[in-house]
């Protein structure tokens, strides 16, 4: 051992001998944390979880409780009743609004995914250089203000908006086209435009993952481009299609800005109605009930959709 030390000091002459290494000192809590990884992990997560609990879990519980209360003048009657839920079930206005919201979101979702698929396909298979540039270019507008993008569509579709004024100044039409603004179609167009990035990304990822040799194999086995697309590419990209549908359908059902700015009375959705309950009508328990019912519908549709696609995929496979 002294010999070994001697050798060591030869290449580092000024080092103190190892005996003077800092003595080991650790507290009991430090030891516990050192030994228990799970505890350390959750300790690190705790601030995030605290915020999420305050911001999501507790509000949801209160929202749920509130939905069983009723309004009494400016106060709440805190006895738990199913009154609000009964009203939602019995009065046709609620059902109609819910159905319209789900319908508009559904059509917007299908439109968006259908329009975005070729674009994602193009970037995945036909762009060779600067793929990242293309992706950034496509997703960039998504990050800008949602309000401003919807506002832009109001400018375009408005009674004296871009399309109408352009068509009039070209002399193609006499009077402005009224159906452009304040209609379901206006809402659907705007939603499809605003949520395109949410569709492009999952579609692109699922297409990019497809092993190119599978496509070559399909060609080799006699499939033309169309048959190859429907027999190989599309089935393999289904996870992306499903993800895209979820990512658009769920948030858009509760959208507020687009129907508020562009929907008019015909394009009003459940989100606007919820806002009205919390705002002008001042019936918070009803608003809470509608929020809960909306959540339940979203869950139910999502589950059915998942179930159907899984069955369909099993059939194919």
């Amino acid at each position: 051992m002294p010999e070994a030390l001697d050798r060591m000091t030869r290449f580092s002459p000024t080092h103190p001998p190892p005996g003077e290494m800092p003595r080991i000192k650790t507290g009991r809590i430090a030891t516990l944390l050192h030994r228990n990884e799970t505890l350390r992990g959750y300790l690190l997560m705790s601030p995030t979880l605290a915020i999420m609990t305050i911001g999501i879990i507790i509000p949801f519980i209160i929202l749920l409780v509130l939905s069983f209360w009723t309004r009494q003048g400016f106060e709440f009657d805190t006895t738990l009743t199913l009154t609000n839920y009964r009203r939602v079930a019995s009065e046709p206005i609620f059902g109609a609004l819910l159905a319209r919201s789900l319908w508009i979101s559904g059509v917007a979702t299908i439109t968006t995914v259908a329009l975005c698929y070729p674009m994602a396909y193009f970037v995945a298979f036909h762009v060779r250089r600067n793929k990242m540039m293309w992706l950034i270019l496509i997703t960039l507008p998504f990050w800008t203000s949602y309000l401003l993008r919807v506002f832009a569509w109001k400018v375009i579709l408005g009674y004296e908006g871009v399309i109408n004024s352009a068509l009039i100044s070209l002399g193609w039409i006499e009077a402005p086209l009224e159906f452009l603004l304040y209609s379901r179609e206006a809402v659907i167009i705007t939603l499809a435009h605003a949520w395109a990035a949410f569709a492009i990304l999952p579609l692109y990822v699922s297409l990019e993952k497809i092993d190119k040799s599978l496509l070559e194999a399909a060609t080799d086995l006699g499939d033309g481009p169309v048959a190859r697309f429907f027999r190989v590419t599309l089935p393999l990209s289904m996870p992306g299609v499903i993800a895209a549908c979820f990512l658009i359908f769920i948030p858009t059902t509760g959208d507020y800005i687009t129907p508020a700015l562009l929907g008019g009375p015909d394009g009003m959705m459940i989100g606007n109605f919820i806002q009205v309950q919390f705002g002008p009508v001042n019936n918070w328990p009803m608003g809470a009930t509608l929020s809960i019912v909306l959540m339940l519908w979203i869950c139910a549709i999502a589950l059915v959709f998942l179930f159907v696609t899984r069955k369909a995929q099993e059939r194919i496979a």
């Binding site: 990884e37 799970t38 350390r40 992990g41 959750y42 690190l44 997560m45 601030p47 995030t48 915020i51 999420m52 305050i54 911001g55 999501i56 509000p59 209160i62 929202l63 329009l115 070729p118 674009m119 193009f122 970037v123 298979f125 036909h126 060779r128 496509i138 997703t139 507008p141 990050w143 800008t144 203000s145 309000l147 401003l148 832009a152 400018v155 375009i156 908006g161 004024s165 435009h193 190119k212 496509l215 979820f246 769920i250 948030p251 858009t252 509760g254 959208d255 507020y256 800005i257 700015l261 989100g271 919820i274 806002q275 919390f278 918070w284 608003g287 929020s291 909306l294 959540m295 979203i298």
Partner: protein, 274 residues
């Protein structure tokens, strides 16, 4: 570079589609600055002529400035807090054997897909039951919920991308957790941190629905814009304001995405090499 394969033959109709797609994607947004410089109170064709009067009018409008500074303050606070929380959460998720990790990640990502209005009203109900008055602080809390998933989603790949043995090497060389974080982890995830700060700031700056329910007397910029949309005579100066917001937020977002991705691809190259 691979030679052009049979499958990658240029497809003319697809190219045209992609071009049209991009034009349609950007056109609405580009119309805003176009009409902001149009010398007419009406937003319609034909264009009347070039003017900067709407910007001058905007410059002199005190409430717009107040709303702007409110948004800046909320945005900076939200960006810093959500990025710090994102770093901590990403580190915990990637570094420790935690039971229920998948459930945790799903939970954090939930606000990405649940309609914002539901979070908005739920928080509103909680705050009013607790007797908390609505203010910029309540807006900040709402924005935190919206921004946290983005911060975590931006930072997670950075933490997953670098080899855990780097931190072990630091511990092995005598540094405790704190110093290891500052000397190894932080420099290596730094591009992700920058990306997260920029993204969360812009999201908060542009966020509407949470602010709509949670704002007190001090409006944020989107709320101010919303309140002015009712008055047609304000339209051109709102267009000017919107142009400015777009003008500054698009480069910010571009840098954020670029920096964020750049780092990830670099680090994965680095590990592939070793």
């Amino acid at each position: 570079m691979k030679a052009t394969s049979h499958l990658q033959r240029p497809n003319r109709s697809l190219q045209v589609y992609a071009a049209v797609f991009l034009v349609v994607l950007y056109l609405p947004v580009l119309l805003i600055p176009l009409f902001a410089f149009n010398d007419s109170i009406y937003v319609r064709f034909p264009l009347r002529g070039f003017t900067t009067q709407w910007f001058v009018e905007l410059w002199n409008r005190q409430p717009a400035w107040n709303a702007f500074w409110n948004s800046i303050r909320v945005g900076l606070t939200v960006a810093v807090i959500s990025t710090v929380l994102g770093i901590v959460a990403a580190k915990a998720i990637t570094r420790y054997r935690m039971p229920g990790r998948t459930a945790l990640v799903t939970f954090i990502m939930m606000p990405l897909v649940i309609p914002g209005i539901i979070f908005g009203v739920a928080l509103l109900v909680l705050l009013s039951r607790m007797g908390v008055p609505l203010s910029l602080y309540t807006v900040t809390l709402g924005h935190l919920i919206v921004c946290l998933p983005f911060a975590v989603a931006t930072l997670l790949p950075r933490f997953e991308g670098f080899d855990r043995s780097m931190e072990e090497a630091s511990a092995d060389l005598g540094e405790n957790g704190w110093w290891t974080f500052w000397r190894v982890t932080f420099p290596m995830v730094f591009p992700g941190v920058v990306a997260s700060l920029l993204l969360t700031f812009t999201i908060s700056f542009d966020e509407f629905i949470m602010a709509f329910f949670l704002t007190g007397t001090d409006p944020t910029l989107p709320i101010y814009i919303w309140s002015q949309l009712r008055f047609p005579q304000q339209f051109p100066s709102i267009l000017a304001l919107a142009s400015l917001v777009l003008f500054f937020s698009i480069p910010l977002i571009f840098i954020a995405i670029w920096v964020g991705r750049l780092g990830v691809s670099q680090s994965s190259e680095g590990t592939a090499e070793s």
